[in-house]
Symmetry: C2
């Protein structure tokens, strides 16, 4: 271990926090303020200037981009014959809020995130974790650079915690997700065909997903099934399911 | 100039192509096949295996991610007090298809792109350029690595060709864009308020953008203006305006 790392872990006044990060992440962090910011939800952030708060939201923006880039390369190389549609869909599954929340929970981020419980309702609590994971990626990037972040993500995160081949198999079925949610919340759900537009050789279907009489999503596709799928996906998005 | 660069530019059997790339990009390319692929539209691509074609679409997937990451960092550092909403919107403007098409045209990509004119209609021709630009970023990344690509994008592209501060000021007004398009194509356009849902202290408005009697986009927002804006944006997307 380099002397700086030894100092940080055993002698620095911040050694407790550094040790915690070291245990969770597997490396000795450099600029601690970046990591503290990555775990600071806006509900406990303070305005620093011009109304901008020192929360993790800016780091989340950066980390989301870095993560997207690393995953893109991993998939590009892992599936040399996968077309761009396949690669895009698989990446969406990997970086989905649901998946990142689970990942951050597994990594033990709950012990590091700072937020005000009174200001965050319970349904939003889960996604604080995924947000913090993205912000952490942004912090690692600024602290250590691209190559380090890529190695960290591949070796410490993807290889141990993300089962890409299983995600590849699971189809995110928005239609059944929406129907289940409606049943659980006693709401009516229907998929209504609004119109089909006939072209020369193809038909375009427009379908609305209607929850309790309200249009929550609409899909326009060349097959009824795909139009329903899209409508259901939009409805899931609108209802934050 | 290193000997390898000298050989490539003056002695290699591919020197003509290499010189062209060198003139356009400002550096001597390494793996030529990556660059050739970046400029190959699917209309002229050949199947290489399992139905996958050697077109630029996979590189476009990768390049889009690399570009998004570099721009994210540039904006993160350029606007230390910009919040994530501002950063996200500004990045979308920079990497919009319209902007990338213009950029690729300025860079002279038209002389390098290979495509079958019979298979690409004229409205799609413009966006071949932006697609090729993204694919090129993917090729540079695979050929030269992240840091090189970042320097190339910042020094050869962003500084000389992208006016970030002007883009920051221009608001992409989807509503007027949609209305203009409808006037030009003699189509009726209306924004219909479908319902407003009243919450305890807030109202949620649902607005549909209707073009020639057909719902082309829907927006649900807390203000009528924003609901219209969203509906117009979706309609522009659906109509590929």
């Amino acid at each position: 271990m380099p002397i700086a790392g030894f100092y940080k872990l055993y002698l620095s006044p911040n050694r407790k926090y550094i040790k915690k990060l070291h245990n969770l992440l597997g490396f000795v962090p450099g600029n601690l303020s970046l990591y503290r910011m990555a775990f600071r939800h806006k509900s406990v952030a303070q305005a620093v200037k011009k109304g901008v708060k020192n929360s993790n939201e800016r780091l989340e923006f950066l980390g989301d981009a870095v993560l997207g880039c690393v995953i893109a390369e991993v998939l590009f190389k892992l599936y040399p014959y996968g077309d761009e549609g396949f690669l895009t869909e698989l990446r969406s599954k990997i970086v989905s809020r649901v998946n990142l929340n689970q990942l951050a929970r597994k990594l033990g981020f709950e012990q590091l995130i700072e937020y005000d419980t009174r200001m965050v309702n319970s349904t939003r609590q889960g996604s604080l974790l995924g947000d913090a994971f993205e912000a952490l990626v942004g912090a690692v990037y600024l602290d250590k650079g691209y190559e380090f972040t890529k190695d960290f993500l591949i070796n410490n995160i993807i290889k141990s915690h993300i089962d890409i081949h299983t995600l590849e198999q699971t189809e995110t079925n928005f239609k059944s997700k929406l129907i289940e949610w409606c049943q659980r919340h006693s709401k009516d759900i229907s998929f209504d065909l609004i119109e089909n537009q006939e072209g020369e050789s193809t038909k375009l279907f427009t379908i609305q997903a209607i929850v309790d009489g309200e249009v929550m999503g609409m899909g326009k596709e060349f097959s009824k099934k795909n139009a329903e799928k899209l409508a259901a996906e939009k409805a899931c998005e609108a209802l934050a399911i």
